[in-house]
Symmetry: C4
Subunit: 238 residues, 4 copies
């Protein structure tokens, strides 16, 4: 835009310190920018109010992670933690925040599944589903199921396939979930998400776009399952 | 805006290839722009989260169709498929997307009804209604019914007319719906929409504005019908 | 903003014809602009989807009225009808629209109550309340009641006062409501709104701001009343 | 932004009168700007429609308070009241508004708890909870509880801790709540909020960010508690 600088944004980020070059980019698709944009959207959807929830994107051997205790709809790229996935050392730590308690769980997922992004929400639909189902959230014969992957073979689930998402018991500290989460992911090679009772959901995917689709489709399916329960309609068709 | 180019947008579209002139327009009412705008609105309404749903607009003998697997709220005109309705050949195909599985169904609707636009959503109200009603969604004596057309004669339904929308059984593959959808539209000359059990709704109209009104009015009526069922109030007044 | 015209808007309205000077103003508080702004807000609240509902603002002896069949969230000032309240003649009529069927009802309200604005919505809460209550919507002992006026004496209702909104039976044609609406307003000098069974609500006030507050407060109260009914809690405290 | 003034905003505020320098700032984090921004957000969340609710931020010995009867989503900094907390005199009073009836209650909170901000909403979740619970809103074993502070000792509640929010009886006039509110805050040193039966909630915190987190987390917990009640699930786990 020659001759007019009115849309130029000064990042106000000193890229010479704290590895700030890792989070300063004008590309909206850069992980640091994308996490901020998606957190605003997820806040609006009620998935991370009250600083709940979290998002991480992997970029080769680096993981970008939203910090703990941040107002998700107000996050900026300079709030971001960046970790080296080999050394597990932080390449960048914002002074004013603590690392997210989800961090070890995101690392478990990256480690076991080689996924490209993880989304964790406190979605009310997720919490309600863990109160209405026992060890698994199960639903079949709803078109939206076709947005979820089979994983154990190529392609997505069919309309009449039964979607099954395991439900873990919650722990007092988020990091204490790590062991059972790992075992659960290993035991369920066909799942792209794990529910945590009275807590929320962890969803992952090959990249942030797949993770976003899976998360939206699952939230839709959990919402309709709750409505079906209210009308006494079984969520799995016989 | 002479003297300041700050609102000038560079499309970044090379109009000399891939028939890109078909989708590059600064007119917000151009089909390629309008589909993007409406998909953003429909995403916000929860009608096409998780890449569900679809929209098509007909422009003379060309059909503009949103692609498969796209995040509907992030769609841009260059994502658009354009088909010649006579030859059924694509005039334009974006390399990175597959054609929507709704395409044959939209073509059926254009073919049988000479409509100007089709909307397909996975609206939760539509899915719930197919779980609560048998072969037809029926409602009468709600003012909003007056937004729907009679079609078999001029003008819209009256307040006390019974609105009737047929419900088709879903199929494993969306394209397999084609035959029953065609028969259903032929058998119900007074309907401007068809529900698909455990799947969603197809709505069409003379043009995109009519299709939008019908879709919004139907979603409103399905929502109130579900609430009436919750309170044990019959949706058809005797 | 000298030296940069990038925020200058060209109305594209020829003010020399069709009394267009009546609707062309850069003042956001001008009735033609305000109606457009509020219709966008009301659309978002679900009060006028599918072209339902309507808004009118009185400016001395002129009434500004949104047209029939318009997508409320897309309305522009040039869509507006303007009527001389003495002669009941249109000072301005947009060629592409029909006058709203609410027009005679808005005129009744201006005539009987000397109000400055009328809002008509198809709010689902309003429709549900007319299905759950008989001749009057009644509620007491909810703080939000204090936003509504007493009218028969100065000041607003108290917390423990019983709010009473009359419910009219609907008619096939909106204009046929005129006679019963007039009688109802005369018979209930303490009401600032009338519900219409299976249709919606008409709300009015001294000016558009008061009408907006009354409409929002009533919608809030109707929403909570429906929830109270769901839990079997009486809406009027004994 | 040299060379282009198109993003320059002229406040149109004469800072030489009425202590207007107290509310004129380009800093989005200034209390006068922040209250306006948060009121827009809270309006969208349905927490202060119909001019209900209120927000106050303390800046050293000055309290900024939103006025009475204002459309919360349209508030501007010049609508703000500013009070000296020592003299209890207004440093600034907008001519067109009355002081909020919440003012004495906000002062009670500042006085007893030395908090930095207070939020008062008419949230439907808050009102419903006061209809479904007796003297206390109680919930345990929901992850979001961990967003609330213990106060009587350092740190936040744990997952399995029981959150307890006292419920006061409402009074005809808001200011008449002052005495019981004061006693209630003194009697419950571990609470950061008080519910008022059939009215709403008062939430406070060390600063506006903490108050916002507590308010969002409480609203989330009240919403899930109502859903649990609908399904007959106890909100406190045994």
């Amino acid at each position: 835009m020659p001759g007019c600088s009115c849309h130029e944004i000064d990042f106000g980020i000193d890229v010479s310190v704290n590895n700030n070059h890792l989070i300063a980019s004008r590309d909206p698709a850069h992980p640091a920018n994308m996490i901020c944009e998606l957190c605003r959207l997820f806040y609006t959807n009620g998935w991370c109010t009250g600083t709940g929830g979290g998002v991480s994107i992997r970029d080769a051997n680096k993981a970008y992670i939203a910090p703990s205790g941040v107002h998700k709809e107000r996050m900026v790229p300079s709030d971001m933690f960046v970790m080296d996935l080999e050394s597990k050392e932080y390449l960048r730590k914002p002074a004013k925040y603590k690392a997210s308690a989800c961090t070890p769980l995101f690392l478990d997922i990256y480690n076991i599944r080689d996924s490209g992004a993880c989304i964790h929400t406190h979605s009310q639909n997720a919490v309600m589903v863990t109160l209405l189902f026992d060890k698994y959230f199960e639903i079949s014969c709803i078109e939206q199921i076709k947005a979820l992957p089979k994983l154990t073979e190529a392609g997505n689930l069919w309309y009449s396939d039964k979607l099954t998402i395991p439900i873990l018991e919650n722990t007092e500290r988020e990091e204490d979930l790590s062991e059972t989460l790992q075992q659960c992911i290993i035991d369920h090679p066909g799942t792209t998400a794990v529910l945590v009772r009275r807590h929320g959901i962890f969803v992952w995917g090959e990249n942030i776009w797949k993770a976003k689709v899976y998360n939206e489709a699952l939230d839709y399916l959990m919402e309709i399952a709750i409505k079906m329960k209210q009308f006494g309609i079984p969520t799995v068709r016989e």
